[in-house]
């Protein structure tokens, strides 16, 4: 009995992996045959980043059950630490994929550290308060990075923290051959774009392995126990704060890795890109995909990210159509009549397949 359930879980996990792999194969085949135009293939890496963002935010919002409105902040930390890593190691590590991997790792670690520091005060709060504090955190990160001026030369990294706006990149006093990496409010400029679709695919797979295996482990069950009933979780010996922190930091570090990939996909990237709207955008992906539903997050991200681009032809009306689609999705996914209908279809289908199985 229990074994059956276990196999069902394993099967749904495998289906998610298989779906992502098949999608990757199809898209890279199309790409190599030149079936995708320039703007279409330009969307691939950002989609990968947002999928990772959505899946990781689902860990905080869906699995842990805490509403976080500052997820873009972690992406930002990852993006700029990743860009600094990749740019400053350009001469040391000539191989672009190796630099990209290292940048994503550094991005993940930096975001995890920031996530831990933010988590100490934030995870003492609940509900609306937690949402407000994470929102504030996202804005603070954005402002802090706007103050950063970073350059690299043969002597190493030069960092200026430009609080009152009086300094410029010239104050870095770089030696000849030095490069400016982050230029205050302009953000990262002149970044060598080394992000690839394959790297995005690998990152998605790693994220899926981490999140799905975490959910099916004792730690994941503990995290969901905290979500469902905090007092009961406490009473069966689960240290609540530890597991909240575990989910929050894991989520932050995955967002950091996605951020690093995102940052290395653009030659110019300002910190203002990772604002409240980005956090909300990712939250919309998660909520419409279904809280706690990993596969749903992926689908919702792909559809809702492509939609505004696909509607470019409609110019003025595209945001209107986007809004209508959002409302329709909200109504249909929460509609009890439709849910019952789908459930009845599903049970009918499974009965049929059982009958076939018993007949054969």
């Amino acid at each position: 009995m229990n074994m059956k359930r276990y196999l069902k879980d394993a099967r749904s996990d495998l289906l998610t992996y298989a779906g992502v792999i098949i999608a990757f194969i199809i898209i890279s085949t199309l790409k190599s045959h030149g079936a995708l135009n320039r703007s279409q293939s330009g969307l691939l890496v950002p989609i990968c980043c947002y999928i990772v963002m959505a899946v990781s935010l689902n860990l905080t919002v869906g699995i842990l059950g805490d509403l976080s409105l500052g997820h873009a902040g972690f992406m930002s930390v990852g993006a700029f630490s990743g860009v600094v890593t990749a740019m400053s190691l350009m001469n040391v590590i000539p191989s672009a994929p190796a630099r990209l991997a290292l940048a994503m790792l550094v991005g993940a670690v930096c975001a995890a550290i920031v996530g831990f520091l933010v988590g100490i005060p934030v995870l003492r709060l609940n509900g609306d308060y937690l949402a407000i504090v994470t929102l504030a955190f996202g804005e603070i990160i954005k402002e802090l990075i706007t103050c950063l001026i970073v350059g690299v030369d043969s002597e190493g990294l030069h960092v200026i923290f430009n609080v009152n706006g009086s300094k410029t990149a010239n104050d870095l006093t770089l030696l000849d051959g030095g490069r400016i990496i982050i230029k205050g409010a302009q953000g990262a400029t002149g970044t060598k774009t080394i992000a690839t679709f394959s790297a995005g695919f690998v990152l998605i797979m790693i994220t899926l392995v981490i999140v799905q295996n975490l959910i099916r482990s004792r730690h994941g069950r503990a995290i969901m126990a905290v979500r469902d009933n905090r007092i009961a979780a406490d009473s069966v010996g689960i240290p609540v704060t530890k597991y909240k922190m575990m989910a929050f930091v894991t989520s932050a570090s995955l967002a950091g890795a996605a951020g690093a990939l995102f940052g290395l996909n653009y030659s110019n990237l300002a910190a203002a890109k990772f604002d409240f709207n980005t956090s909300i955008l990712v939250l919309v992906f998660v909520v419409l995909g279904g809280l706690g539903n990993i596969w749903g997050s992926i689908i919702a991200t792909v559809i809702l990210y492509i939609l505004p681009e696909a509607l470019r032809g409609f110019a003025n009306y595209r945001m209107l159509i986007y809004a209508i689609v959002l409302i329709v999705v909200m109504l249909t996914t929460n509609n009890p009549v439709l849910k019952n209908y789908i459930a009845s279809l599903r049970s009918k289908f499974s009965k049929d397949s059982e009958k076939e199985a018993s007949a054969s």
């Binding site: 229990n2 482990s217 009933n229 240290p239």
Partner: protein
């Protein structure tokens, strides 16, 4: 703590609970009276209100004891003190001779106290089996990385835990519902599941908060047998709060009566039944009307 955990007999030797008798009488000699729990002058005040005052109780290692009293007497507050949901403002709690001061709720559970709740607190959105698996959380030892990478330790621990979870469920006739959502179980089954989950944490003291609330007489009779059976198979102490006097009088070797946060009587069923202060607490003073 680890010693007491090892003393527990293997679960494979445990047979499912079957209704055999309607009342259980435990011979006095079988009851190990060496204390597992000692409360010394335990008390808590909320602001100026003394919710519990000078509560003294000693509970034997395999004793079943009842905590009764009128509504608002402070019974659940005592459970909350024992499990550190509230930190006591004075007094000491010794669990197996060890002071539990400065422990958190989770730490107290790992030290050996498990509980159920008056208003059932299950993980409603998870399956019945997962509820017990969450109870077995601290019985598994693989780390986060082991879980993510699915190292051999993960498979080993999960396999054992799943078997044990099914054994706990079988004890409470819940094994055929293992894959259902806990929230979809009928009321009585939810109560049983809560006890199964509490037992899965491997306690040496089980606190049951109104286990028979909302049950009909036949369910209550089955519950009584289960409680005694739990004590006999797991060799643990059980402290229960209950308003159903037939249950309390039949299975509790010791009964403590609480009124307005104070202990007003302690003793066996007969002594409590005939104690004038207890009768007064429940029914009011005799002759108060006449005078």
């Amino acid at each position: 703590m680890s010693d007491s955990k090892k003393r527990r007999p293997g679960l494979e030797s445990v047979s499912p609970v079957v209704p055999v008798q309607t009342t259980y009488y435990v011979p006095e000699r079988d009851v190990d009276k060496s204390p597992i729990l000692q409360c010394i002058n335990l008390g808590i005040s909320f602001g100026g209100l003394k919710a519990v005052e000078d509560f003294n109780l000693t509970l034997g290692r395999t004793e079943i004891a009842g905590l009764i009293g009128p509504n608002g007497a402070g019974k659940t507050t005592i459970f909350n003190l024992l499990t550190k949901v509230y930190q006591p403002t004075h007094g000491t709690i010794l669990l197996d001779g060890k002071d539990t001061a400065n422990m958190s709720t989770a730490q107290v559970n790992r030290a050996g106290i498990a509980r159920t709740f008056q208003n059932i607190r299950l993980f409603h959105n998870q399956t019945v089996a997962d509820n017990v698996l969450i109870g077995l959380h601290n019985e598994m030892d693989y780390g986060m990385l082991g879980g993510i990478l699915r190292l051999p330790g993960y498979w080993r621990a999960e396999k054992i835990a799943r078997q044990r979870a099914m054994e706990y469920l079988a004890l409470f006739h819940l094994d055929q519902h293992a894959d259902e959502l806990a929230g979809s179980l009928p009321y009585g089954a939810q109560r049983r599941l809560e006890i199964a989950r509490a037992l899965a944490t491997n306690p040496s003291l089980l606190l049951l908060d109104e286990p028979a609330a909302g049950m009909n007489p036949s369910e209550t009779a089955e519950l009584m047998e289960n409680i005694v059976k739990i004590r006999d198979t797991f060799h643990i102490a059980i402290l229960l709060i209950e308003h159903d006097m037939s249950l309390v009088m039949n299975i509790c070797e010791g009964i403590a009566v609480l009124n307005f946060g104070r202990l007003i009587a302690k003793g066996n069923a007969d002594a409590i039944r005939n104690d004038p202060t207890v009768v007064e607490a429940y029914l009011g003073r005799k002759g108060a009307k006449e005078s």
